[in-house]
């Protein structure tokens, strides 16, 4: 059983209204030293068997990310980590 994490973020030049809204709210929580916030999606995929990197890339490209405005990175995670004690192990498989 393999677990893969696909992180999808807006390309750097694309406006990120979500991140901006959070960044603007932080000073009200007394936090003023944040220079930028970007918000994307984290997608956890669990395979019944092994995860074929090519197939994962295809899923990410076709279904999870919108290549017009988003980039994605793929990591295989050692252990299903549903609970809080997650330790992401980067598989270094950037898009």
């Amino acid at each position: 059983m393999a677990r893969v994490v696909v992180d999808v973020m807006l390309k750097p030049e694309i406006l990120d209204p979500q991140g901006q809204a959070v960044a603007n709210a932080l000073p009200r929580l007394g936090i003023s030293d944040v220079s930028s916030v970007r918000i994307g999606r984290r997608i956890e995929i669990e395979f019944a068997g092994a995860a074929d990197p090519e197939r994962v890339r295809e899923i990410a490209d076709k279904l999870l990310a919108n290549p017009v405005i988003e980039d994605f990175t793929i990591q295989e995670v050692a252990e299903p980590a549903t609970e809080a004690e997650a330790e992401a192990v980067p598989a270094g498989d950037p898009a």
Binding site: L10, P12, I14, L15, P17, N24, V68, I69
Partner: protein, 631 residues
């Protein structure tokens, strides 16, 4: 001269561009001084969509070659989209044939037409296209289409109060439709719902002609007290130019990125034109801030930033007043610090407005912006006309380098105007010969039943609530009629019950068969829809969706449709108050069906008298009588 590849070249295959001068290793930006000294330097004007003679005209106007920033500005302002260079000669009929009208406070040429409906109140409405961006990125394309038309209405001094969305997609079961339609609908809802604008009608039409080129048109209605009408004039030398709203990023810079570098090496990848992403929250704040500024009389002139960004707003406000302008471009708040001057001038970042304000009121203006949490920055000032008596010049510096020095009107009013060749499509006679009368008709009850079932099952006739349920139609509490009614009816005045009715209609298939009558039919349908709601039609807006104007057959369709619409308006006695032309709607050489979409606005003295569709439930005894009017 049957085809001209010039205006389409901004969409040309980048890899095939000829080598041009590279500005990459310049020490600082390309300045006016440098342009004067290197007047023979080769420039990538063709890649920016300018023809040889257009480029020569620019050199003539400036008496030197344009700087990199100026070239970007001319290429944008003289593009089909901004200059209406192919449509202008035809659109004139809307004014020439317009019936006399003393209620039109603003008409064609303004951001949107304004019609006075009582001594105190006026309404404004306009429909615009966002077809190409919606095919590339359906959600954001449609969303920013709504955002753009709302800012047009806002710029007139009006509070936006409703939207409509005439949409056309390819075949319902085609995979492109499956990709595009859900995103478009979600985008229109996502933006309009977040602004709190009720969606009171639209169209959803499926036809294979729109397969590679869906049509996403958006209409906005606004209301204003007559004395709050705004102008775009940058009047009053010494007044301050304020940019309000979102930061400027590399959104939708399009062909202008050609200027960054002539060679498309790996490094230029990041400079590719980026899709515009909408931020409806910022737009909502922008609306509230603008309205508060209008009500406090703090605005001398205002213009929204649309397709041509700062370039358009700066030149139009100055040209409209005949003044000059001095702009310090480095004051523009940027999302990416590495942006070059020409990129800042060409950026299509959304949710921005340009304001002209009096220096002694600047602090008040900034305070209102701050109250609503909107960025507002003084970026320049209005300057007088030249000592020679000529209109003022637009001078823009970038960190002390003069990068633009142009007569603003040369970008706005002196663009090229073409009487493009026109020819009736060669297949038209055949199409027209194939009459509907020759089609088999259902001859018995079974056939009739089968035909009826087929019609009911057609995606074009079926229930549209899957779409309309994604739109808020209740917000603002004044929606008297909305889908599935023939027209949307909005109450304007709670005391008197005064309201307006709106409908948008078009039929590409009719127009393909007969552009003149097809356009008239679209007008008639929209007019009828408004009339049957109980309102008196008073004004027309339109969005003319056509193929490439360089195709004589398309140009003929366009000319005929405009002639038909203008004649129809004359016959019905109502004026066209504004609209939008969208050319180049085609896939390869195949143009879409010519699709004029016509919006009609009517006034109803008391919305309690509106007439809904459907038979009313008889309150007492006798049922209502049914009449069929017409032939």
């Amino acid at each position: 001269m049957t085809t001209q590849s010039d205006t389409a070249s901004s969409e040309a295959d980048e890899a095939s561009l000829p080598a041009q001068v590279s500005y990459d290793n310049l020490d600082g930006p390309d300045t006016v001084e440098r342009a004067g000294a290197t007047s023979d330097e080769l420039q990538p004007f063709a890649e920016l969509g300018l023809r040889d003679d257009e480029y020569e005209r620019i050199r003539g106007i400036l008496d030197r070659r344009p700087t990199q920033s100026e070239l970007a500005m001319y290429s944008i302002m003289w593009s089909e989209h901004c200059s209406y260079k192919s449509s202008k000669v035809h659109l004139r009929q809307f004014s020439e044939k317009a019936p006399p009208n003393d209620r039109m406070l603003a008409g064609i040429g303004e951001n949107a037409g304004v019609i006075q409906i009582t001594d105190e109140l006026a309404v404004t409405f306009k429909v615009e296209s966002h077809n190409h961006p919606s095919f590339v990125e359906p959600y954001q394309g449609a969303a920013t289409g709504v955002g753009g038309i709302v800012r047009d209405i806002l710029a007139m001094g009006a509070r936006p109060i409703a939207v409509m969305d005439p949409l056309r997609f390819g075949a319902a079961d085609h995979e492109d439709t499956a990709r595009v339609l859900p995103g478009v609908v979600a985008g229109i809802g996502g933006y309009g719902n977040s602004l709190g604008l009720p969606n009171v009608g639209g169209e959803v039409v499926f036809d294979p002609t729109y397969q590679g080129n869906p049509l996403v048109n958006a209409l906005c209605l606004g209301v204003l007290p007559v004395n709050r009408l705004q102008k775009k004039d940058a009047a009053g030398p010494g007044n301050i130019v304020v940019l309000m709203g979102a930061k400027t990023g590399r959104d939708g810079i399009g062909g202008v990125s050609v200027l960054a570098s002539a060679t498309f090496d790996d490094g230029s990848e990041a400079r590719r034109p980026a899709v515009q992403v909408g931020d409806p929250f910022t737009e909502k704040l922008l609306i509230e801030a603008c309205l508060e500024l209008y009500d406090a009389n703090l605005v001398v002139g205002i213009q929204d930033l649309g397709g041509a960004g700062l370039t358009c707003a700066l030149t139009e406000t100055a040209a409209s007043a005949g003044t000059g302008m001095r702009v310090w471009l480095e004051r523009v708040p940027l999302r990416e610090q590495s942006m070059d001057p020409h990129e800042i001038l060409a950026s299509e970042s959304q949710e921005r407005m340009l304001l002209i304000v009096k220096p002694e009121q600047l602090d008040e203006v900034l305070a209102v912006a701050d109250k609503w949490g909107v960025l507002a920055t003084a970026i320049g000032e209005v300057t007088p006309s030249e000592v020679s008596g000529l209109p003022g010049r637009l001078r823009i510096t970038w960190r002390d380098h003069l990068v633009v020095d142009v007569p603003p009107a040369s970008l706005v009013d002196d663009g090229p105007v073409y009487a493009r060749p026109m020819r009736e499509p060669s297949d038209l006679i055949l199409l027209q010969a194939d009459r509907a009368e020759t089609l088999p008709r259902p001859a018995n009850p079974d056939d009739l039943r089968a035909t009826l079932l087929r019609m009911i099952a057609s995606p074009n006739l079926c229930d549209k609530s899957w779409v309309t349920e994604q739109f808020d139609r209740y917000v603002l509490g004044n929606t008297v009629l909305a889908q599935p009614e023939d027209a949307g009816v909005i109450r304007i005045d709670e005391e008197s019950g005064l309201g307006v009715a709106l409908s948008v209609d078009g039929n590409g298939r009719y127009t393909r068969l007969d552009p003149y009558n097809g356009a008239k039919l679209a007008l008639a349908e929209s007019y009828r829809n408004v009339a049957v709601s109980g309102a008196k039609p008073v004004a027309v807006t339109n969005c003319l969706n056509f193929g490439s104007p360089e195709d004589p057959a398309v140009m003929w369709q366009f000319a005929e449709a405009v002639r038909g619409l203008a004649d129809g308006c004359l016959e019905l006695g109502i004026p066209v108050t504004g609209g939008n032309v969208s050319f180049y709607n085609q896939t390869g050489a195949a143009a879409i069906h010519p699709t004029p979409v016509v919006g009609v606005l009517g006034v109803i003295d008391n919305v309690a008298d509106r007439v809904p569709i459907g038979f009313a439930q008889p309150a007492t005894g006798d049922g209502d009588l049914i009449f069929l009017l017409g032939e």
